[in-house]
């Protein structure tokens, strides 16, 4: 579904700036859950942002192939909205507050843009409510939250929950969750994990970016990758997460500089 090859990226508008991603290789197949772990500043959000099309990054080398609805696509060629319509979803590490745009209107506009792209009929307000009602319930999102402006005045937990709610409504094919677990108490974490697990299917792939192993007790990954200083320095099964948790990120530095 996703094939990243030798991906290099830096901050746009900093022509002489250093590279933040320094050669990423990653293959994600439909049905798989990949966890990307790594210390702060290692480039996790940069990778997620590059995949979603954030224009503050500039890709300097490498390719990203993505299996779209109608065949293979060069993901980096597409605008952010085209990627979303082809099924890419990014749950933001820091969801954006948008005063004056109602959450429900926003989400319906998004869903309809995606449906239109796929040749499906657009949903009116009533159909849309029917479509979302069950998902709201599963994720403990109450009516009040959906009527408010997008993320405005939401607590940290409410924002993260709203990201997962959006994911549940938009039903992406490739979901990238950027530290959705950070700042969540254990109950909220379980709810979020439940939302993600409910979406697992042979047609979907998920990339879970996290700083902590804790989330992976609830969303069990097929593969774990360790991102360090712009490169994936270790890949393995779910036990790699436990190893990291035990040893901390400190050993990476030694291991990497020793060329192990």
């Amino acid at each position: 579904m996703l094939e990243i090859h030798d991906l290099h990226a830096r901050i746009a508008k900093q022509a002489d700036g250093r590279e933040i991603l320094r050669g990423i290789d990653l293959r994600v197949k439909a049905g798989e859950v990949h966890a990307i772990m790594g210390p702060n500043g290692s480039g996790k959000s940069t990778l997620a942002g590059v995949l979603a099309g954030r224009d503050s990054y500039e890709v300097t080398r490498g390719t990203v192939r993505y299996q779209g609805l109608g065949g293979e696509l060069d993901l980096l060629e597409l605008s952010p909205e085209e990627r979303a319509r082809e099924g890419v979803f990014l749950a933001f590490q820091y969801p954006v507050e948008i005063p004056g745009v109602s959450n429900l209107y926003f989400l319906r506009a998004a869903l309809n843009a995606i449906r239109k792209h796929r040749g499906l009929e657009e949903l009116d307000a009533a159909d849309f409510l029917r479509h979302t009602r069950g998902k709201m319930k599963m994720l403990g999102v109450d009516d009040d939250l959906t009527k408010r402006s997008v993320n405005e005045g939401f607590s940290g937990g409410e924002k993260k929950r709203n990201e997962i709610f959006q994911m549940a409504v938009l039903e992406p094919r490739l979901a990238i969750l950027d530290e959705t677990d950070s700042g969540l108490d254990i109950d909220a974490l379980k709810t979020v994990a439940q939302g993600v697990n409910a979406m697992r299917s042979p047609e979907r792939a998920t990339i879970v970016v996290t700083h902590y192993q804790r989330l992976l007790n609830y969303i069990v990954p097929d593969f774990v990758h360790v991102l360090y200083n712009g490169r994936i320095v270790r890949s393995g099964g779910k036990q790699l997460a436990l190893e990291l948790e035990e040893k901390g990120y400190g050993w990476l530095e030694e291991a990497v500089s020793a060329g192990v």
Partner: protein, 447 residues
Amino acid sequence: MSVTAIPATGGAYRAAFEAAARAQRGPGWLGTARRAAFERFLELGFPTPKHEEWRHTNVAVIARGEFTPAPPPDAAAEAAAEKFLAGSPFAALGGARLVFLDGRYAARFSTPGALGAGVRAGSLGAALAAGDAIGEALTREAPWSELAFVALNTALFDDGAVIEIGRGQVLPEPVHVLYLATAAAAQYLQPRTLILAGRDSQASVIEAYASLGEQGVFTNAVTEIVAEENAALEHARLQQENLASYHVSATFARAGRTARVALHALTFGGALTRNDVTAVLDGEGAEVLLNGLYIAGGRQHIDNHTVLDHAQPLGTSREFYKGILDGQASTAFRGRIVVRPDAQHTDAIQSDKNLLLSADAVASSDPQLEIRADDVRCTHGATFGQIDAEALFYLQSRGIGAEAARRLLTFAFASDVLARLRCAPLRRALERELFHRWTGLEGDGEA
């Protein structure tokens, strides 16, 4: 006269004034005031951009034009009014409706309705002609001796709305005053509005301006508002004239002890618009809200000048203006806050925020604080910005196209100004109108 003024082309105005003076009826003091105002207008002349208060707005097109009074509406004008009133979402926003067609009260289209005893809403011209008591608020609230346009209106107005809400009267629905213009270019309208809200009364008044044709009229409007002790008055001024119109307005409001006055200035139309709003907090604990939205595209120019005059202690003023500029539009905002020595414990907050959708649009913002009391809180701020890149990316990342996302964010920028309108029919009509304008969709962005 000096470099700060262009001499008023006396001829046309003189002839119009003398003709009007012969026809106008009303109390003797008013006739005297009108003549004095007219002579003063000729002395003052029209301001030029060298005049400090007119730095951003050049009224040469008005000063040099040979404007004549708009003639009474003909059958075509009546038909245009009928069509507008039948079809526009802005045709019926309240209970009572007073329609003025080319400056004259149009009884045929007006529905003053059953406002009950103690409330008057009707034609000012008719009230003056009938010798009804109007009170001295007329011309007292709008000082004309240094303001050329106010002097001109005082000299020449012959009709407008008079709304008087008696002591303790609570109006469940807004009074909707509609000034409709069909007149030709080089014609002027001088509407005058007088709103008197008695002690403990509560009301909303909408004062709306719209063009029914393509021609650009010069409207020079003056509105006087008095809210007596503990009155709650909301006044919404809506300017939706066509892009050929020139519109100059001056609104003067006085808030008595613990009165709550909200003055909304919603300016969308006009080639050139200048609004002056002056609110005096003239009793202890008065509260004033100045809430403004100006939307300018093409080559439109909109200039809003406001003065908040804290004359008594414990007053609260909130001023929130927002502008959305596109094309080569230009706007100016000047917000003066005066805190007089007696006005201790004043609490004043002012902000002017501008969203620039085009690199060629120019907005200027100029706060002026004149604080002569020591125990006050007074803050102000102005911003100029583009669409927020992070918000834009967020919407795009959900599948919403870049252009649609930009439009949605533009609507969102205006939404808090609209939310401050307590008058629900107007708020809803504006939400739908602006939502449609930017998104091309029906609805109001709620679900």
